[in-house]
Amino acid sequence: MSVEIKVGMADLNVCVSPDRITTLGLGSCVGIALRDPVTKIGGLAHIMLPDSTTIRNNSNIPKFADTGIEELVRQVTRKGANRSRLVAKIAGGAQMFGFGSNSEMVRVGERNVQATKKKLAELKIPILAEDTGKNFGRTVIFYPETGDFVIRAVGKQEYKI
């Protein structure tokens, strides 16, 4: 029996095949799935903000792209994944509202995606696929068995990357 592990906002967890791991309703947040294709050990993080170093109150590790991804790598390798084999898929970072003023906050989705890519590049983890930006919410389900990253959005057919 496989189970579904749920990851909340500002949260992360590991997942081993045949289980699957999901996070619901990603908006401007970014979901980062990591996987070791050999051991089929993976994990998923749901980050909210790009950079922990610009925020004074930054003790909540899974909240930020930089510290969240580092922690996810730590947890999947502790579970038995090989650090050098890790690959990533990412989704989210939408701009849910369009209004102009407070533009830095409005564009936080885009900044979350940039920060995620920067951190993964720094850790030399290749991004195999992404579904980011645009203006709609996404639910994601990751299967460490196959590496499929299934995406569900309102009014769209379910698809995978």
Partner: protein, 205 residues
């Protein structure tokens, strides 16, 4: 002026924010009732300080499709405000306002535009009461509307709260006419504005 931290906020501050929320939601209900010319009852609003991972459950699930109206606010109080309503309830309200029910499941352009107006009036009434209680100016921007999963819409105010702490203040208001309409207000003042609001009410920090 001391800094407000929602994670360690005392009961006194929380009670004040709660009361502001109650009054605002009451005014919003009156405005809504006048707009659709129909009596609307309101349950006592629930004011909650929630951790981010509890947000979805508090609204009946992250994937529930909702209409979210979002405005920036400027003036003495700066920040933003969001009003959320389940899509079903939104369609019901708009049908009342336009005097006709639409058959389609999706909201038409005209329904979306009417809904934006509903949101504008509701948030306007909320902000007006806040402004008159505190005697502080609040200038709302033009509203923006999106219909999507609750989690995705909530990510926007949640991210603004996330820059300050690990919890979010949410006011749930239940309206009733023939059906129960669950509405949610999320006021997101910046840190200075929290201080100004509380100081205006004579609360020292």
């Amino acid at each position: 002026m001391g800094e407000i931290n929602l994670d360690t906020m005392s009961n006194e501050y929380f009670d004040v924010l709660k009361e502001l929320g109650n009054i605002g939601a009451g005014n919003a209900t009156t405005a809504l009732s006048q707009m659709i010319q129909c009596k609307i009852d309101m349950a006592v609003p629930q004011v909650q300080l929630l951790e981010f991972k509890e947000l979805g459950a508090a609204m009946g699930g992250e994937e529930v499709v909702m209409a979210g109206i979002y405005l920036a606010i400027d003036g003495d109080i700066k920040g933003s405000i969001m009003f959320l309503l389940e899509k079903k309830a939104a369609k019901h309200l708009v049908a009342k306002l336009m005097g006709m029910e639409s058959e389609q499941e999706d909201l038409s352009e005209m329904e979306l535009s009417a809904l934006k107006e509903v949101g504008n009036i509701i948030t306007g009434a909320y902000l007006n009461s806040l402004s008159s209680i505190t005697n502080l100016t609040i200038f709302p921007s033009v509203p923006d509307l999106t219909v999507d999963m609750a989690g995705a819409i909530l990510s926007v105010p949640a991210i603004e709260f996330a820059a300050l702490g690990d919890r979010m203040l949410m006011i749930q208001t239940q309206f009733f006419d023939e059906m129960v309409l669950d509405g949610y207000f999320i006021l997101i003042p910046d840190l200075d504005s929290y201080g100004k609001m509380l100081a205006a009410l004579g609360i020292n920090m």
